[in-house]
Subunit: 342 residues, 2 copies
């Protein structure tokens, strides 16, 4: 099959072997797969990512010297079934899945595995037990947004928001926008969002931000204080570059809770005494629970979250390397969807 | 009066002016005042402390170029009253107070102020409204332990412990020991505590630790995992030196909550990706609430917490500089009490 492949820390397009479904697995055609910022990160920080996963005791490993077909935000069509399959789904049905597959008693991260391909290729194998049928009528490209939007719901759930908390979302890339959508769903008000990009600020408003801040025009925390008044602060860090956390520790109001959803792969320096003086709380978050993933699919299918504004481009497999470059410009795109059968 | 004075970042013993009680203030004799690790820190990191306080927006300032009489863990005897005093306390009564004084509409930190002396001198002025009478029978030196023990109660309260959480206390200096005492009061079990010092480990057991670990003999987290089994992890960082937080991020189990009670005055480097991969939570804590301070005095007076093992020495004002040196050796002392009228 044709696929965009991470090979020697570069992205190339090549023909790779078709995957074969093992016990309990389902062979699927990849209809749509979003390009995630984590994949751009992975390409740049492949070694650190593997080292940190190992240091964290994560139960999967990756050999960056071997091919990886990335892509973990997918919507697929059922094609065929491996042995010992108990799913009631039929060939032709559209499905989504958390990007995890259980094979030989171990868990693999679909999209970050040497053994199973992710969504930047024409075919995938998924665990039958993990599949969720796409409710009728939800467009394939929006169903593929289940995964990134679930990240936002999880971050908001981990924030333990209370009635009068005032959220501030720093960074309006796909993670920040997903957080804004989840905050809107929860009824938070006012939602304040900051990003240097006019395009991203416009998207933040479409997803539900009540106040958007251009940090080049007004200091983010000044605008935030005006909007939040004396409400308790919950700050979502959705940028993920070194220095952000310290900037937030320095400027956060007394007692603020900081939810770190931006993935900073490099070591970072903070002043703990600032955290102590202000009794700050930092909650690091990752991924979502199966319940949150399913709830997000429901939110999308019921129109509670409208992701149409976020899908700003579609490409075939051959154009994936170019799309990775394009995504570096926040004015051009939010989410680019790969359609391998395009 | 005679006092130990921080002068040009050195500790000297000198005669300084007697304090005079302003509006609403009470003149007291300092009967006992504990030497706190924060004071050792303050002497070493005076400039950073002031800079960080300013950066945090803290409402008090300190000029390290001017004299400071430190000491904020005190028990005193009422001597005289300033104008406009509404306290019902009488001369001769013993009192404790949170180390805060309201003067000219501003808040001053007693023990870190250029304008009011702390407990390393013979006399102090305190806000009448802040005084708590020492319940009959509680020894003066133990009443002076209200402040440091309240720090432990606050840290434990901020940890939001649930029924089956397993606490790990890293560092058994006065802060760690106060945390252990508060955990015991809460009924936590097992309480695991780690320190390189045999003396400190023995004190940890006396204060309520069920398992003590010598990190030189067995890795702390290995011993902790054995004791905690699969219970959720709550880790109290009570050391406060650079590198500790990263060590904990690296070794903490999935989903652990880290309560940072150790005050690290220097910049510190962490790997946020470890926090993300394991969804860790960091709660920085400082001080206590008035309720927690009063509750701690009650705990001490009712014998719910026995601080007798912690008071390992008593000195007069003249010996304070020497006591600061002595405290660097964890085998020699836990808490040294200054008795200015000794």
């Amino acid at each position: 099959m044709r696929a965009a492949v991470m090979r020697n820390k570069k992205l190339v397009v090549d023909t790779v072997p078709d995957p074969t479904p093992s016990d309990g697995e389902v062979l699927v055609k990849t209809l749509a797969c979003g390009i995630c910022g984590s994949d751009l990160h992975a390409l740049k920080f492949a070694d650190q990512m593997v080292e940190t996963a190992r240091e964290s005791g994560a139960p999967f490993s990756l050999d960056v010297g071997r091919d990886v077909v990335m892509g973990h935000e997918f919507c697929c069509e059922v094609v065929d079934f491996g042995p010992n399959n108990y799913t009631t789904l039929k060939a032709g049905e559209r499905v989504v899945s958390m990007p995890l597959i259980f094979r030989n008693g171990a868990m693999q991260a679909v999209g970050y595995s040497n053994d199973v391909p992710g969504g930047y290729g024409e075919l995938m194998t998924l665990s039958g037990a993990m599949l969720l049928a796409v409710p009728n009528g939800l467009a394939t490209e929006y169903a593929a947004m289940t995964e990134p939007m679930a990240v936002g719901l999880h971050a908001v759930n981990k924030a333990r928001l209370e009635a009068h908390d005032a959220p501030l979302v720093i960074g309006c890339g796909p993670v920040g926008l997903a957080v804004i959508a989840a905050l809107k769903l929860k009824g938070s008000e006012p939602i304040v969002a900051a990003d240097y990009s006019p395009k991203r600020r416009a998207l933040a408003q479409k997803m539900g931000a009540h106040v958007v801040v251009d940090p080049a025009q007004q200091p983010t925390f000044e605008a935030y204080r005006q909007a939040a008044d004396l409400r308790p602060s919950v700050i979502f860090e959705c940028v993920g570059v070194p220095g952000m956390l310290q900037q937030i520790l320095r400027q956060a109001p007394l007692g603020a809770r900081i939810v770190v959803a931006g993935v900073c792969m490099e070591p970072d320096t903070i002043k703990p005494a600032l955290g102590i003086n202000k009794e700050l709380n930092i909650q690091f978050v990752l991924g979502y629970t199966p319940d949150e993933f399913a709830a997000t699919l429901r939110h999308l299918s019921e129109g509670a979250i409208d992701v149409a504004p976020l899908v700003t481009g579609k490409v075939g497999v051959a154009e994936v390397p170019q799309a990775f470059e394009t995504l570096a410009n926040p004015e051009a795109h939010a989410k680019i969807i790969v359609e391998p059968w395009r």
